[in-house]
Symmetry: C2
Subunit: 711 residues, 2 copies
């Protein structure tokens, strides 16, 4: 066991060193001229102010939830005559607080890096593409590494503290269940971070565009638009803070789920089966660090996307190699029939997961990039007006769910069968196979997150260059990086939803294990969720409905929050004289303030909806129904997220495709129609879609935490 913790904490130290080196690199870069710094400072201030207020709101909700879960766990276990009631309650509570704190820190780091890298990237663009790329990507890399390392460190340390280091079999086996609170805390914060950030970014975007571009006729990112800083702040709070928290909780929740499954296979693997997911994560971080080091463009005409893909490829290959050792050394053991575990087959599970991750990135690319049929067809439909654009986009988005679902199905099926074959069909063997696949898929997570955070940094850099009146040459560099950042943002969303889908099955099994242990059944027994029972069927119905209702409230929240800013921008245009001639400065801060308040207000309702529904279903309809709810809402959530993300991404790029000169180019009727699609797609792909990723995992962790309450 010592060696594994050696690897885990060794990697943690290496990652921290890498973060320090990268940070030193970033902070020694120049921050550009005073005008650029002024803009950058405004963004920084706005973003930090939002985060501060958002965290206050979340903290309030988290404290209420904390009281409820510790109290509920205490009394539920007490009433069942469990002697551990106090212990379970405080462990869960502590883990919850840790999870929530780490998630919040992840979001903070993501945001802090972006607001410091954006202006440096803009300045770096003067020195050429490679410099700008280095700054933006290394800034993203810091976030990626910090978030994944924090997740690894948090889960590992809690495991050690909660009995993992005791050397006592019973305590070791109990420890993973006590950490579920960590996943729940993380997902609770992630949900609100993603929701609040998603609402903020799109409300500011829609508001700035509608009054600025459409009504006043000034270009995007024009400094005369009072909402322009709010818009740039939005990119940070949505894509960085939101996605950082999202992927933090992905890695955390899925680690905990896999560890709980490891307990079920304790007779075969011992503690190694529980530690396997943590070591896999640690090795993935090393692979990502190497991949990150390889990203650089050699000549200035090169496509930066190519370099990012190269880095991703290197990371993937390294992970494929590392996991051979990981699986073959850790997952050995003797089966009940006396034969040995077939570790190559288990490695096959890991490969399945890694391949699925890659496939999701490719599929997302197919459906959302300007080079392929879907986006071109949507762009063509703009010629006959906004209605046909919307119809084509919606139908294309719905179509885009098919292949990913087939791939997920094949991956689950393959890894399940391989797991069973490797472990001689003992109970939970197949499930552990899917757990290994999930670990495989998530092992490249640090690199993916680096690519993701790269997006808003380049987006901001472009905005700063535009607003500070940089030269055409510099703008060309930032534009190229920005286009590349849009692609990475879309791809990482595909990856996030894919990993959520694969992880479902894992988290579901963890739930079943918890149910068994509460019912006093052995972990080797089979607990079935029979959809033929009316309670389970009804729960499934409500689960699908929740996905629709949640998407509805998230989308609507954007519209509502946008209204606030529209009114304010109109007011400023009317009341501040000389604003349109560029003589008077608009009141940026007030816009930031208004959209902050609006977004925070609007995030509460959908958030509460997600937290209360699973608990109500479990309490009213029972444990089995809660299991059905969990599974079916996840299925629907994944499919809906694919639809929303891909439709939104495709509309966005259909507009870009027309702006590049097709079907009449900018200012044509087709372009006007394409703007409508883009606006509709914004809350789809940046608010509702990503929030659904979190919703899926939150439902899993919430049912895990509250299971003691269910009838």
């Amino acid at each position: 066991m010592t060696i594994y913790f050696g690897i885990i904490y060794g990697v943690t130290i290496i990652a921290v060193l890498a973060i320090i080196i990268l940070s030193k690199y970033i902070f020694k870069q120049e921050k550009g001229n005073p005008k650029m710094q002024e803009i950058s400072n405004a963004i920084k201030e706005g973003a930090m102010a939002f985060l501060k207020r958002q965290y206050k709101t979340i903290a309030l909700i988290a404290i209420i939830v904390l009281i409820i879960i510790t109290g509920a766990n205490y009394f539920a276990n007490l009433s069942k005559g469990s002697s551990d009631a106090t212990s379970i309650a405080w462990h869960t509570g502590v883990a919850f607080v840790m999870g929530a704190l780490c998630s919040a820190i992840s979001g903070y780091i993501g945001m802090y890096m972006t607001v410091n890298c954006n202006v440096r990237t803009a300045e770096g663009a003067r020195k050429g593409l490679n410099k700008a790329l280095q700054i933006a990507f290394r800034g993203g890399a810091i976030t990626g590494l910090a978030v994944t390392t924090l997740s690894l460190f948090g889960v590992s340390t809690l495991f050690l503290l909660f009995g993992g280091a005791s050397g006592n079999d019973t305590l070791i086996k109990e420890a993973p269940s006590l950490i579920v609170g960590f996943g729940f805390g993380a997902s609770l914060v992630a949900l609100f971070a993603q929701l609040g950030g998603g609402i903020y970014t799109k409300a500011a975007d829609v508001g700035a565009d509608l009054v600025g571009k459409v009504e006043a006729g000034i270009p995007e990112d024009d400094p005369r638009n009072p909402a322009v800083i709010a818009d740039l702040v939005g990119d940070n709070v949505g894509d960085c803070a939101g996605r950082g928290a999202d992927l933090f909780e992905s890695t955390a929740a899925e680690n905990v789920g896999a560890m709980i499954l490891g307990v079920a296979l304790y007779p075969i693997f011992g503690v190694k089966g529980i530690l396997f997911p943590l070591v896999a994560r640690a090795l993935g971080i090393i692979a990502s660090i190497v991949g990150i080091a390889f990203v650089k463009v050699k000549n200035e005409d090169e496509d930066p996307m190519k370099e990012l893909n190269k880095g991703y490829g290197i990371t993937t290959i390294l992970v494929l190699i590392f996991l051979i050792f990981n699986v073959r050394y850790m997952l050995t053991g003797t089966l009940p029939d006396g034969s040995e575990v077939n570790t190559w087959m288990l490695y096959g599970c890991a490969v399945t997961g890694i391949v699925l991750g890659y496939a999701f990135v490719l599929l997302t690319n197919y459906y959302t990039s300007v080079n392929n049929r879907p986006v071109k067809e949507i762009a063509k439909s703009c010629e006959t007006g906004p209605a046909t654009n919307i119809i084509t986009g919606i139908s294309m988005g719905m179509e885009s769910t098919a292949l990913p679902v087939l791939f997920i199905s094949i991956a689950i099926f393959t890894s399940y069968k391989l797991g069973n074959a490797a472990l001689g069909n003992i109970p939970n063997a197949g499930l552990y196979g899917t757990a290994i696949a999930t670990m495989g898929m998530l092992s490249t997570c640090a690199f993916i997150l680096a690519m993701d955070t790269f997006g808003p940094i380049t987006d901001n850099a472009g905005g700063i260059a535009e607003m500070s009146g940089a030269s055409e040459e510099v703008r060309l560099v930032t534009d190229r990086l920005d286009a590349c950042g849009n692609t990475t943002k879309a791809l990482t969303k595909g990856y996030a939803v894919g990993s959520a889908a694969l992880a479902t099955f894992l988290l579901f099994s963890a739930y079943l294990d918890q149910v068994k242990s509460i019912l006093g059944k052995p972990l080797e027994s089979w607990y079935s969720i029979d959809i033929g029972k009316p309670e389970v069927f009804i729960a499934g119905f409500i689960g699908v409905m929740l996905v629709f209702l949640f998407s509805s409230t998230a989308i609507r929240a954007v519209g509502r929050a946008a209204q606030y800013i529209i009114v304010e921008v109109r007011r400023q245009f009317k009341e501040i004289p000389g604003i349109m001639e560029g003589k008077a400065k608009p009141d940026y801060a007030r816009c930031v303030d208004i959209v902050t308040k609006g977004a925070l207000k609007e995030m509460v309702l959908p958030g509460i909806l997600v937290i209360t529904t699973p608990v109500l279903v479990g309490v009213l309809l029972g444990k089995e129904a809660a299991g059905g709810f969990l599974m079916i809402s996840t299925i629907a959530g994944v499919v809906m997220a694919l639809f929303l993300n891909n439709a939104g991404g495709a509309w966005d790029n259909a507009k870009k495709y027309i702006e590049l000169g097709s079907f009449g180019g900018k200012k044509s009727e087709a372009h006007k129609a394409s703007v409508v699609g883009d606006t509709v797609g914004d809350p789809f792909k940046d608010t509702a879609g990503p929030s659904l990723h979190v919703l899926i995992k939150l439902i899993s962790t919430i049912t895990l935490v509250f299971v003691a309450l269910f009838s």
Copy 2:
């Protein structure tokens, strides 16, 4: 038994008499001036030509399917060593042909009545509102009665022929399973009728509007538009032929499902439990005839909707009374513990179903009528352009799924628990409770169908009045009826999806019973569909995906078919001189011809998708997975259909609300934005949504028919 068949065939004769009396009334009405007759004849010709060609295509597909099902059933049963292989195969084949034929006849009757009533309604409008209402509604009533009576007659007769009259217990108990082919044949035809009709109607509508209204700037239903006849034909083939076949198969499939469940309770109820659904249907027809007789407006200013609601209310009250006797006389018996069946509780199940039907109509009305918040909010969002209109409409449509799902859940739960309580918790008791609820809900079906067919008749009458240059006064009457028809069309869609949802659980139980009988297990045993198994989970994933993919192909098909007609209308405007001045007549027939071909071509792909997927899932993943697929795709299908129908209906009425003078009225920017929403909503509510109702039931009947093939 004789008395029950006496009731069934007696009601059949009464219904036929009522149909003859109503037809005589219709055909003695005047057909208007030559111009009106000319238009009406053009519609009639186009509609009949479409139906003829559509039926040819469907016949071809049906013959292929017939060969496959008889062959597959024969060999599957043979390979299992069943001595009945030949018998099962030919019974299923005969039932399939009967079902397909009856469904086709239902569609034909619906269409025939509409094309004959439309011009008479337009002429009747000269004599006042009541006359026009009488003609239109009685025309609809003929369709409603014909379709439900045909379904009752078909199922009853097949049951008699297939062993129901043998007096032999074993043969009687086998008979219901042999009729499943009837439901499958009916749903197969219904799917293509609804898809083909739905694609036709919206392609013609979109095509006519885009070139006529938007490009050429001529009003709707203007005789100069070459696509105007195709548009009017579309109302018939989509709403009459399509919905007629849809509700025919609803009643057929659900009767068969309930009868199979009746077999499981044979020890308690004997043959009465199997015949109960048929007698309930017969009594519902009587109640509907009385309700229909009560529809008339007394003074010319009255709202016709009020009268229709009165008729519906009377039908509902009569059904509530009739079912007391039906339940209390037929569902008596002695339970294994010696106590008597509690028939009042079973009556409670029936009441639950009837109330659910009413609730669905009210909820649909809330979300789609101009008098309530949702439509008003969507209309308001048009002020900020098409993008906000689309966003609000989509989010409202998603929201509108919540309450119906809650109501379905409560209804299933209540009727299940009541069934269990009434029958002392014996196996299948709860399921029989939900079956009784479904019968309750569907007992008002004939009246609902009359209201539904009323819609296209009034729509057509309005078109004929417009095109023939009728006076302002006449137009006012037809406009009022048309508005009322739009409401009834929306409400009946809500009813259709509600009944599909409730019926799912019933059809699912029928599937489980079939599985048990194939596995040689007693019907009293419990066969569980465990969603924790990877095959079942994957099947569920594919099921939800199928709903999205099917909606996508259905929506896209409309766009594609519309392209054909757009090209043709543009060509005629260019090549036929004097067409815009009204001097030359456009070539209506060619437009009808082109959209016919286009719609039939485009309906094949989505149709094949729905037929093959469940069979593939069953063959590859097994019986349990097929059960999971069936349940979860149904849940998703119901929620998606609610979303599509309600969003489409709300956009339509938001446009109407603006046209009535709000937010700037006609020709305002808000109105333009509202037209975009209306266009997007058209394929939602008239193609994809209604086709999903059929899809849900088709998946049930297809798995029932092919279950012998599943591994």
